[in-house]
Assembly symmetry: C2
Homo-oligomer: 649 residues x 2
């Protein structure tokens, strides 16, 4: 964390200076707002937390319910999501409270006694080295709490407006083209209406999204006619793997997916129920909690399951549904119209919960959208950038739906044994294989954005094989040069809407005049074509748009700070204090060298450009100045008065 | 973290169920209280946070100032203190905000140009493997904030009573023998007096302690007649090690100790000023901030130091002073009188700040006292136990004073070069050697309590060379058996006043009938002489006094939970839920095996008994039942109705 740049202050360093007027937010809804977010779920709160960081953006978030969520249904937090939480600054809190999914066990019918289950396998839940964070389980409500905390401490002091339902929306013209009507739902003001106009509206309002309805879009898909039950229980059992994640397939009882929960005692059990008739909905069956428990007990045989308390339960039918576009612009009008309304999360895609993807993909939706909205609202990027949200995220949602359909089908299929490969149904060993094969997918690290305006082509991928263009920046250890702190390089990046350019140096002496990193830094700091010069406004810190960091191959004790390029020791803030956190060295303490771990070309080095949402935009040679400039020129807007050339440090 | 044991609840798991009446605390001071803590510094707050955890203990903490500290002077947090913070549950928050002291650089006069300084060495600040936590720097006020947060969320919902000065104290007889008079110091109530009676009073009220005054005790010691200045600054400099800890010794300017601070920009500079005359106090010199800055600039030559902002500054003379006893019982009356008033922290020992020990030793004082008071107040231990506080901590403070005198002398001594070993003064290389040699001391891990009622003799030390009796339990990695979580064994222990017994198994099959750990567990669970049976009250959880955990040598995937001793899968709480967090295995993933790291006898295994304040009380053979029983019998009080023999799991 960096603070005190513009003067020492006491108290919580996460508590930002308030933006003008931020503290008076509770005086009711404004007439106009830059962004109106509808819905306080994981997608809405991720977006709110992101936008609240910018004092110059006005944002409101409304929610139909009358207060913060107390008990949520989602609980799986993928490694990739933890990386994002870390950028928001609350990964540590989640790690402390959550259940850590270290291993997954597989159970199938006991060959000796097919009415019983027996363990058939046990695997690491996440492959070694896939992320510096584990896969964890924590009630969605706590994730909300952490986001609400960030929002409250942000420059905008953003607090949701509860008890407000979207009852009307029209898209027109002008600076605030979206007219919105909100209806109070609290008893004291029930039915009262309030209209306001927004530049942008984002519907994070769930599977029955009102925003989606006003756009005339639909969730399309099918249902597998298979009922499942889910319950969070406190139970006494002799099932030995009760504190592991389990996929259990029994001969007579069907399947269970078991997920231990935070706190050491609570367990979530997904249990397969009956097949449904064509067009039959599970609600019509009036399935009781007792039936759910009985179904689970049947699968567990020969183990007992004595349920002492049920914190929450539900029944659902499996289905995968998807919206074809995530904004208000019809495909045919892409060239002539700009998006002003977006939908995200369950409003766009719904599926079965057992792969633990819902909350994760939803939050990644709005983490993708947030910085783009901020760029456009702050005049940094062309509004056409906003088309990329639906382009990028709809493709990801399509993958999710396909994956989920396959996984859900496997878990509901009848069993066959490996000796009868031709028989119908699924072999439990296939299930285990499928799970392991798709580990990166469920960890959230398999997302790849296709080449586009924002995602470069693979021409120079060979310079850093481990930073795959279009995937999230895969952090690795490094030693910070200024203070010798061992840390994760990726943790230098916060959710602050900035771009990161990591310059991985070649093997030569970085202190020598004319080193490749030195020349790159000079070009970045001084050349009129440099994105730093072109897009950083006068008076702003030199790293406020593009945060340039360098990583060297040498032992950190062998480098002299004072002989490094000026751009890497930038003077910032009102005092012109030097920022000592721009330079890193490889951690040479055995198996931790980032150049080895990420396959970086030691002879040539390279640049790795990373988007504000942590995805690798491009890999370029250290002298790829033109390509770097061209990347930004395609969508960024130059500032009228650029930052002054830097004074020598 | 474990929660939901007695039923599912939503919200922050750190927010404990309130004790009866806890929420009405703001209705003024009570007439009687179990413990009255005077002073809201680090010592007072550590004690308050510890005692607030017990719903059956009434505690109040009063402070002369009118609110929480905004800007404190202490900032060094030793590794050992981080271990304690982890037990209190806020280590992550400190790690996130603090500056990490990774390396220390040494500077001495440049041999080429003696008016300039040149770097002479650079060392790891803490030796590898000394603690799982780093040495960090964070403003004392933030540490207070974290403690206040714990207190607010505790069963007692404890909030300090500010603006209250201790104006009278008398020790008499009866259940509440200490009569105290508090004077309001806020303008609205100035001079109003309130009297109350306490079972125990603890003076954590600083170097000018009023509590110490009423006890008639004195801080005795001497002053080195050497003035120093200290300032927290935001500055621009070309000194390359500005983000490292530095010990700088110059020919003309004297010495500097430089400590980077949290946030990436702030730096603390201790700078040597003039020698003082005999009996001269530094205040009489009227030293100005400008003089301080000029003195620092002189030491820094040839580097510049352009101070932009000063967050805080002060001047002081070096002195080391100590009180001979930390409670109200005169040495001659040890056998006939029980202590009721204690002093801790700066009230007992003052010294120079540069070794970063003050806050750390003060907090360890009251972490030592807290569980003892809780044991006695809850009727678990004989009140004679309380004598051990002064015994143990006075000896530690004496060491501190001696260390500090030596270190301070070195830093103020004139320089001589290594070529003139006979000349007066100090060779800068000696300074570096002394620093490295005493690294464990400054990390807070060198504390050893001498053999006593609470600290065993070394008869069986050979069974676990790395868990040195009388020192803090040195945590090491382990895999939790129930959920395969890789973690630190020591982190299973919270600051909850419980004892831990770690049973390190021998190499045999722990699932076999008659295994040493199995037999130990049976004895602990069933034998009338067992401390678990003897000291655990009916209706309480089986681990509420002695928390037994086992560590096995085998790969965790090779052990069957269901074949383990019942005591290690105890049924707890109102539902009888099983606790799956009692068993661990060595982490076999290379260099992390706790049996190797801590030198545990693999053939025999052993028991390691750890006090509630994390110190190793005793190392015993796995069949050392008698010695274990005798240890507790020396100071514990058996319960009238012991816990029932456990039902089989």
């Amino acid at each position: 964390m960096q603070f005190h740049l513009n003067g020492f202050h006491t108290g919580d360093p996460d508590l930002a200076q308030p933006a003008p007027g931020a503290e008076s937010q509770d005086s009711g809804m404004p007439e106009t707002v830059d962004v109106l977010i509808v819905g306080c779920g994981p997608a809405g709160l991720t977006l709110a937390a992101q936008l609240a960081a910018f004092p110059d953006i006005s944002v409101r978030i409304v929610e139909q319910k009358d207060g913060p969520l107390q008990l949520g249904q989602a609980d799986g937090i993928a490694c990739r999501t933890m990386e994002m939480f870390n950028a928001f600054g609350f990964a540590e809190r989640v790690l402390r409270e959550a259940y850590w999914v270290s291993e997954t066990a597989f159970w199938k019918p006991d060959t000796e006694a097919p009415g019983n289950i027996a363990r058939s396998g046990r695997v690491d839940d996440v492959e070694e080295g896939l992320s510096e964070f584990p896969h964890v389980i924590l009630n969605q409500a706590r994730v909300h709490d952490f986001y609400l905390d960030i929002m409250r401490k942000s420059p905008n002091r953003l607090v949701p407006d509860y008890s407000r339902r979207l009852s009307g929306m029209e898209i027109g013209e002008g600076d605030y083209p979206v007219a919105v009507t909100l209806e109070h739902t609290d008893p004291a003001h029930e039915g009262q209406l309030k209209t306001l106009r927004a530049r942008y509206v984002v519907g994070c309002d769930g599977a029955r999204s009102a925003v989606r309805g006003f756009l005339g879009r639909e969730l399309r898909g099918d249902s597998a006619n298979q009922a499942w039950g889910v319950m969070d229980v406190l139970a006494v059992t002799d099932f030995p793997d009760i504190r592991l994640k389990n996929v259990i397939q029994s001969t007579e009882g069907g399947s269970i997916v078991l997920i231990p929960r935070e706190g050491g005692y609570l367990v979530r059990i997904y249990v397969e129920l009956d097949e449904l008739g064509q067009d039959e909905r599970v609600r019509s069956r009036n399935i009781t909690l007792e039936e759910l428990i009985a179904a689970a007990q049947k699968v567990f045989r020969p183990y007992s399951l004595d349920v002492k308390e049920v914190a929450w339960w539900s029944v659902y039918e499996i289905g995968q549904r998807l919206t074809d576009k995530f904004d208000d612009v019809p495909a045919a009008e892409l060239d002539t119209r700009l998006p002003h309304v977006f939908i995200a999360g369950d409003a766009c895609h719904t599926h079965s919960p057992k792969a633990g993807q819902g909350m994760n993909v939803s939050m990644q939706d709005t983490f993708n959208l947030g910085w783009k909205l901020a760029h456009v609202l702050r005049g940094q990027a062309k509004p056409e950038l906003l088309h990329s949200y639906s382009d990028e995220r709809q493709a990801i949602a399509k993958n999710l739906i396909d994956f989920d359909r396959e996984w859900a089908k496997m878990l509901s299929a009848p069993l066959r044994s490996s000796d009868e490969p031709e028989a119908p149904g699924v072999d439990p060993e296939e299930v285990q294989r499928y799970f392991v094969q798709h580990g990166r997918y469920t960890a959230g690290t398999a997302t790849v954005y296709a080449p586009s305006l924002l995602t470069g082509t693979s021409e120079h991928q060979g310079l850093a094989e481990g930073f795959v263009i279009g995937t999230r920046f895969h952090s690795a250890p490094a030693i910070r040069l200024g203070d010798a702190k061992p840390m994760h390089l990726g943790h230098a990046a916060e959710a602050d809407g900035r771009w990161r350019l990591y310059a991985f140096a070649d093997a030569g002496d970085p202190m020598a005049v004319g080193s490749a990193v030195g020349k790159l830094c000079d070009w970045l700091a001084d050349d009129p074509a440099s994105p730093v010069v072109k897009y950083t406004a006068e008076g702003a810190d030199i790293d406020s748009i593009l945060d340039v960091r360098a990583v060297f191959q040498q032992n950190h004790r062998d480098l002299r700070l004072q002989d490094m390029p000026t751009l890497l020791l930038p003077a910032k803030g009102r005092h012109g204090l030097r920022d000592y956190e721009k330079m890193f060295c490889a951690d040479l303490s055995g198996g931790r060298d980032i150049f080895d771990l990420r396959g970086i070309d030691r002879a040539k080095g390279c640049m790795v450009l990373v988007r504000p949402d942590q995805y690798v935009a491009q890999v370029l040679p250290l002298d790829g100045y033109g390509a770097l400039a061209a990347y930004f020129d395609a969508f960024m807007l130059p500032v009228a008065a650029p930052v002054k050339a830097m004074e020598p440090a």
